[in-house]
Structures are given as structure tokens and as C-alpha cells.
Symmetry: C2
Subunit: 217 residues, 2 copies
């Protein structure tokens, strides 16, 4: 089973590494980070680069596609018609599952793949997802047909769900135990419904800077 994870500049590392950490441990999985060209891409904070091991054209028919989210960049190349979109649409023709984390759902929606479908994304961009024809939901993980979209850093949980579907619950549980994925955040601020109102308000106020790295056009 081939798993392709799109990697690109300004992506959020955890959005890619969470799913990778689970899916790459599936029996028979061949996982590859694919991008515009081989070599490093730099993640959104600027302090971590991960390596694209295969150019898009080298990855033709993965069984699973994962598109991670980004922050702090307008992502014109990612979101406009062109080589990345063409590749996403082309490989989506072959996938058993097409998945996204965080703002990655915006990429899938911009490519036309979520038209009329329920989907999850980062809470700051739900309106944008709607503008692109998808039906944003407030759930952490949404499955609509073969499209599995996860809000923010729910990628690890999404991938465990996918792992169980592909390889059975016991395999998913073994991976979860290997990773000791037994989270217990010290604060209850991970959801826009429960985070302190002032935290939510302060982030909404700078939404365009967080998502786009500057004011919207």
C-alpha cells in the first residue's frame, strides 16, 4: 500500500508527521513525502525543514493521499490551478482514501474534490471551506465517501481511524501503543468551543496573519 504525503513550504509539520507516524507503521505500507521537487521544504515556523523524497511526477497512483495544512502564507502555487492541483486531482482518481489535516482541506476543496461534501478543517478557515463549495462541520474528523478530513492536529487520530479500516483494529491499537498515544493536554483549550473566549477572540483578530501571513487580498 503506497501512502503519499504532500510536502510543501509553509506546511505545518505536525499536520504531516502525525498521519505519517501512524500510517508508515502499517504492515506493507510504503510512505513517501512528495513535493514539487526533491529536497527540503521549510515548515511554517521557519525552524524545521523536512525532505521531499519524490517529485510529484514520481508518485503516480498512491492508495492514500494525505494533504497537510499550512499557516502564514498565501500559498498561491498550492491553491491556484497548476502542477500541484493537477497532481492532486490525478492521484485522487486512484486513491482508496484522500485525507487532509488542518487547512489541508482548503487545498482539496480548491482542487474541487470536496464540492458538496462534509469536511473538517482548521476552525479559522471554516468560512473559506464553505466558499469553496464544501460543507464545513465542527467535528474533529469527518468522513464523506473516501474523503477523510481532520481539524487541526487531529491527524494522529484520523490516521488511527484509517489504520483500523485498512489493517484492522488490532494493528491500529498496536501502533497506538507503540507511539504511546495517550494524550492528556494540561489545558482544555484545544477546541474553539472550549478555549477561553479571550484566546479565541485574540486569534480571530489576527486570522489573516495566522493563515495567510498578511492581510487578505
Amino acid at each position: 500500500m503506497e501512502i503519499a504525503i504532500l510536502a510543501y513550504d509553509h506546511m505545518t509539520a505536525l499536520d504531516a508527521v502525525g498521519p505519517y507516524e501512524v500510517l508508515s507503521r502499517l504492515p506493507g505500507a510504503e510512505t513517501v513525502f512528495a513535493g514539487v521537487r526533491r529536497g527540503p521544504v521549510r515548515c511554517d515556523t521557519g525552524s524545521l525543514a523536512i525532505v521531499v523524497d519524490a517529485a510529484l511526477e514520481e508518485v503516480l497512483s498512491p492508495d492514500v493521499l494525505v494533504v497537510p495544512g499550512w499557516s502564514g502564507s498565501k500559498q498561491e502555487t498550492l491553491l491556484a490551478p497548476g502542477r500541484i492541483r493537477d497532481w492532486i486531482c490525478s492521484v485522487d482518481d486512484h486513491t482508496t482514501w484522500t485525507a487532509s489535516t488542518g487547512t489541508g482541506a482548503i487545498v482539496l476543496a480548491a482542487a474541487g474534490l470536496l464540492m458538496g461534501r462534509h469536511a473538517a478543517t482548521h476552525w479559522l478557515v471554516a468560512d473559506w471551506l464553505s466558499d469553496l463549495g464544501a460543507l464545513p462541520t465542527a467535528r474533529r474528523i469527518v468522513r464523506d465517501g473516501k474523503y477523510l478530513t481532520a481539524a487541526g492536529s487531529a491527524g494522529l487520530d484520523m490516521a488511527l481511524t484509517l489504520a483500523a479500516d485498512v489493517a484492522g483494529a488490532r494493528s491500529a491499537e498496536a501502533i497506538q501503543l507503540l507511539l504511546e498515544h495517550d494524550p492528556a493536554p494540561p489545558f482544555d483549550a484545544g477546541s474553539v468551543d472550549r478555549a477561553p473566549a479571550e484566546v479565541v477572540a485574540s486569534m480571530r483578530a489576527v486570522r489573516d496573519y495566522i493563515v495567510l501571513g498578511g492581510p487578505a487580498a
Copy 2:
């Protein structure tokens, strides 16, 4: 505030990327992935390489040191006396916090930093931690003095704890909301206490292969 994350071949990506994703977003944080030499290191599954941006000698006095864990490798260079150990001990003289995730506690203990200290590590190597003079606990996150050790993939939660200490709860909550770290695993198998007994037994049976990549010497 300078945050150094040790990066090395066969490390577990999530052990590094979890803490990175939180700590690099702290106000004033300068995060750097440090390793034996600049350039890519390949993580334990073989399908992800991340980039070392600074050689060890370029990082002299970080405020925070994070040592991620590994799997599937004997890690002789990492655990034996030598350049990496010397660097860990040298920077530890300056840190406000020295932290580890998963088997990373073994690295700290091998360097003599956890002697007589309570510490958390991956459940498969608790005995090893004990052999190295530390006091393994079954908790997910353990703080003993300036040493903060986390079991398996508790690195994200550990880093939120550290973020609150460094920058206040509101900053930690804002980072948690930005990442939407609101986990809800689909299975309750992330802890050795609650995972199905057959899953635990099957992993214990191949413990040396999981941790060391082959039989213990």
C-alpha cells in the same frame, strides 16, 4: 529563548516534532534542530528525513534542550561516550529545562543526567532506564528539578506544560488552540495499562527488535 532539539538517524519524528510544534511558537523562541552534522537525518521508519540546521558545535547554550526518542537501532554513537554525549552534558550546564520524549530519556540517563531522578520513558525500556540509575515512573510526564521527561508521544503535552511555565497559561492555551490539540483517539490503546493484553504481549515479545532493531548484544 533558544530551544535546541537533538536530531539523529533513527529518531522517532513525532518525538521531536510534537515538542517543536509547541515550543517554536512561543514568543521570542528561536528553535534549532541540532545534530552531528548539518543536513538530513532519516527517521526510524525510513520514510521521512528531517534537516539538521546546525551542527552540535554551533549550539552552545540553549535555554531548553529536547532529546527525542528512537526505535529500531542500537544507537551506539548516541549512547556511548563521545561527541553527542559531551554536547548534551555541556549544554545541560546552561539549560533552564532539559527534556526528553520516549526513549530519549535513555539518552539523558546514559549521559548521567538522570542519576537518582524520577523519569518517564517509553514503557518498553523502563528497565533499561532503571539500569542507568534513574527511577522510572509510570506517569506520562515527569518533572524532577529541571528535567522534564515524557513517555512516548506525550511530547506535545509536555511542551504545553513547559510553554505555560515559560510564557504563561494564556500563551500555552493559544498555541494549543492554534494547533487544535484536542485529542480523542478512536481506541483506548495508548497506555500499557489499558491496551489489549494480546497487543502488549506481542510487542513485549519483540521488544529488542522494536527498540534495538535486532537482538540485544
